[in-house]
Amino acid sequence: MNHLPLIIPEMSVTGLALAILLIDLWTPAARKPWLGYLAAMGLGVILVISFTNRITDNPATAFGGQFICDGLSIFFKRYFIGAAILVVLMGIEYADRIPVGIAEFYALVLLALAGMMFAASANDFILVFVSLELITITSYVLVSFQRGRLASLEAGVKYLVMGGLSAAFLVFGIALLFAASNSTSFAALNDAPALLAGNRLFWLGLLLILTGLAFKIAVFPMQMWAPDVYQGAPTPVTAFLAIASKGAGFVLLLRILFTAVPCISRHWQTLFMAVAGISILYGNLCALPQRSLKRLLGYSSIAHAGYMMLGVAALSSDGSAAVLYYLTGYLFTLGAAFVVICLVCRETDDIGALSGLSQRSPVLAFAMAMAMVSLAGVPPLAGFAGKLLLLLAVVERAGANPAYYWLAIVAVIGVVISLAYYLGVVRAIYWSKTPAGTAPIPLSLTMQLSLAVCMAGMFYIGLFPNAVLQAATEAVKALQF
């Protein structure tokens, strides 16, 4: 079988998960953190190896064209592995708040990661569905991992209900698509555009599939789960959902829209523009009155998904490259924010818990402030460069269709609104009257390292766009517009 070498990364991640479950049987409780380090190191090795593989211009396919290995899939696999390493390291820090089964926690993160990696390579709706289920089902368990905490259980149930609904949309859409076209393969759909362009059944199927994906990336109209689940889930899981799960949704969205049905998505720009605009305004406006930090980030993640939809709505390779670039910046920025939340917000995640942070731990205070400012899109940080590229892609289309000017203005209004609540967090850190505590916050070596990497990434992506932009542009060559 010459197909197997292509899925070596996925197999090694799955193998790592199983190995951790096995080793756990012989590991005494005091040594459990080593399982986390093992997982993180294993992922690090896989990540490094992925950089030694050269990306060829000819994508390789396997398993009857179901699985594709091209620039786009490799870009996203690296992204997911990076996110998973961060989540596992946060999990080690968070372990004292997870009563039992920390080994299963790491294993589930790794299994979800395997699902995401398959999703990045999916070239057939069957594989799309299977990999999405792998991600979603492991996430149900992860969200409700703190069995003793009611909020965590509640979030798990909400996620389960909404996830079930979206899976139903997705599978129904795939069925309709199959009924209309007799195929589930992206390549086959791409080959027969004329047949499908006027087929209402096909359109409905596609619309349902997009609704299912909207759940993953948390944009309007499937956004309502995000704040509740973000708030209730254990912090590392929230980070995993916000960073990696959203990325999985985007890679599937891009691949379906621009490799399977590019001839149809070309005519749906109004739909994408509406989704982007509504998500930006909804997310930002709802985030304004929030007092819970994780809930605030939940709403803001809807807005950020909306910003990334700007790149999809632009229907251009520049737009899609901007989405990839924005996601990369988002990984480092949110990574820094969640590391701080994980360390500081032990009992409550109220914004008040951050007050006096500048006295307790200047490093964490600075990191959080920078993360917030970057999310708001202030130069010279990652969030600014990403938004700049997204706006460029949108305004570029405005010559032909002035509606894009309005879309850009909506995005800008969203950014101004978002400044209000992001600066509210900065204010709590630096000049709140009632400090939440005075004890200095211990900072382990792993967390110091993760924070340093996230901060460096934030500044690097903001200041030196060359390398990542080039990688993103290479990656989106797989797409058609």
Binding site: A398, V412, L423, Y430, P465, N466
Partner: protein, 541 residues
């Protein structure tokens, strides 16, 4: 000074370090260094800040002198430095000066030094304060020096964000939280509109040739103008975006409360320097590249600027708080700057540039003085003051002179600027110019003179209140006042180079191809203004 100053005039690729890089790089470098110094080394931190801004100021002044020597009669940039940054999207590092920004950079560096001197009274969390102050100073100087749109925008934003934390942490009054939010959100909204406009402008170029370089953009648009449909979108974005940043009426409401709540050094830098960014952007980018839309919007802009002069002037008359009075009067002064831009003539726009520099010194000086009064008296309510001149002869004299300068008295730098604006706008908008003169002279005179009477004259006695103790503490006030008087008595120091650089801008903005080569319009008013100021004022009345 072992800087490669003279290398600036040499042709070829400009990769040698320009003095401009030092001017804004020194404060930024100082900010970085300060972050590494422990917070209890207060003296070291303050000395470092003073050293950075002082050397930045010295480099700026030396650069200005050399600029005056090298500068030839052709428009173009000197002290250029250029590096590639991200060629894929046409982003680069490009700095340079011409007549339009040279004055602003020198003014900014001097105000930054004065503001650092006056930060002595900040006693809580000095380390953070000085870091933010250095970021603000370096940011705005960088924005004025940049010839790349992204750097231009990015540096300005770098100057903007610290003001949020500075007002919130070290601000004055009960309103400071609200003011911090208001100023930040308002200005970010303006800046983002500007960003949209700049991006749209960048995208007017065909894909292979896209660049954020202002010089390259201007060169490109000279031969292939922006399409009318695009101008219709881009110009209003830039006009209102930049307008919000300069407190164009009716988007001015952030300014007076924001300045009143800000700590003194922040108010000085913000009102004096950061605010000029919008006017600079209009002159540098919006006018020359989009002449048709500029002509269409000129009348609207002229009417809005009357809002600044009359409405904000009347608002200033009603203020009981000295800081709010100064804030409102500073907004009113911006009306003249806008009027000069709306005139679209060389002399009018030159006047605007002159006003920008003059008002930078003036606003910084008045906020510095009101800050001193606030610290000494613990109040800024005008009716609670009175009789202060006996106790504060130095501060009082400087303040009275500054207020007279604000009324447009000849001999101070504002006078030639306002005069040039009036000359420039007379042809195009005689009615607006007439009302503006009336507004400036009568309304400005009323509130300034009334403030002088209520604060400085009277019977009240203030035991224990005295002038700054020694000559070093008087230095920042003296420095700013000296600059005002110097430019007031010898405006040609700036106007000659301004006119050379503004002339092509005005020619492009008025849509005339004009005679190539030497500028045909000479600038008579500065000399005339110095010669017979009284007569000119009488004529204007």
């Amino acid at each position: 000074m072992a800087l490669p100053l003279l290398a600036a005039a040499s042709p070829g690729p400009h990769t040698a370090t320009s003095p401009l890089t030092w001017i804004f790089g020194l404060p930024l470098l100082a900010a970085l260094l300060m972050a590494l110094i422990p917070r209890n080394f207060r003296f070291v931190i303050r000395s470092l800040a003073l050293l950075a801004t002082l050397s930045s100021m010295v480099v700026a002044v030396v650069m200005f002198c050399q600029f005056r020597n090298i500068e030839t009669a052709r428009p173009g940039f000197l002290f250029v430095e250029q590096h590639e940054w991200s060629p894929a999207i046409g982003l680069g590092y490009h700095v340079g000066v011409d007549g339009i920004n040279v004055g602003l950079i020198v003014m900014g560096a001097i105000v930054a030094f004065a503001a650092t001197c006056l930060s002595r009274r900040i006693v809580t969390r000095e380390k953070e304060f000085y870091i933010l102050l250095m970021l603000m100073a370096g940011g705005i100087l960088g924005a004025f020096a940049s010839l790349d749109l992204v750097c231009f925008y990015g540096f300005h934003e770098l100057a903007l964000v610290p003001s949020f934390i500075m007002i919130g942490l070290w601000g004055r009054g009960d309103n400071k939280n609200f003011a911090a939010y208001q100023i930040t959100l308002y200005l970010s909204a303006g800046a983002l509109l500007v960003l949209l406009g700049l991006l749209a402008l960048y995208l007017q170029l065909p894909p292979g040739e896209r660049t954020f370089d202002m010089v390259a953009l201007a060169g490109y648009f000279q031969s292939r103008p922006v399409s009318l449909a695009a101008e219709r979108w881009i110009f209003p974005l830039l006009l209102f975006g930049f307008g919000i940043l300069v407190s164009l009426w009716p988007f001015h409401t952030w300014a007076p409360p924001g300045y009143a709540s800000a700590p003194t050094p922040t108010a000085m830098l913000h009102a004096g320097v950061v605010k000029k960014f919008g006017l600079y952007g209009l002159i540098r980018i919006a006018l020359p590249l989009m002449p048709h839309a500029a002509a269409q919007w000129a009348l609207i802009l002229a009417c809005l600027c009357l809002g600044n002069i009359i409405y904000c002037g009347l608002a200033a008359m009603r203020q009981r708080n000295l800081n709010l009075l100064i804030g409102n009067s500073s907004v009113a002064h911006m009306g003249f700057a806008f009027l000069g831009i709306a005139s679209l003539t060389t002399i009018g726009i030159s006047g605007t540039v002159m006003i920008m520099v003059a008002h930078g010194f003036l606003a910084a000086l008045t906020f510095a003085l009101s800050g001193y009064l606030d610290e000494e008296l613990n109040t800024l309510e005008i009716h609670e003051m009175g009789g202060l001149l006996r106790h504060l002869p130095f501060i009082g004299t400087v303040m009275i002179m500054a207020m007279l300068a604000g009324c447009g008295l000849p001999g101070f730098a504002n006078f030639p600027g306002e005069m040039m604006v009036l000359f420039g706008s007379w042809d195009r908008f005689p009615l607006v110019a007439g009302v503006a003169i009336w507004g400036a002279l009568v309304i400005g005179g009323v509130y300034m003179l009334r403030a002088i009477r209520n604060i400085w004259h009277g019977e009240k006695s203030w035991p224990g209140i005295s002038d700054p103790a020694n000559v070093w503490r008087k230095l920042p006030y003296g420095l700013l006042l000296a600059c005002l008087i110097l430019l007031g008595c010898y405006p040609r120091l700036l106007t000659d180079s301004i006119a050379i650089s503004v002339e092509p801008v005005a020619r492009m903005a008025s849509g005339e191809p004009g005679p190539a080569g030497r500028p045909s319009v000479q600038v008579p008013p500065p000399a005339a203004a110095v010669g017979t100021p009284q007569a000119t004022v009488a004529k204007a009345n």
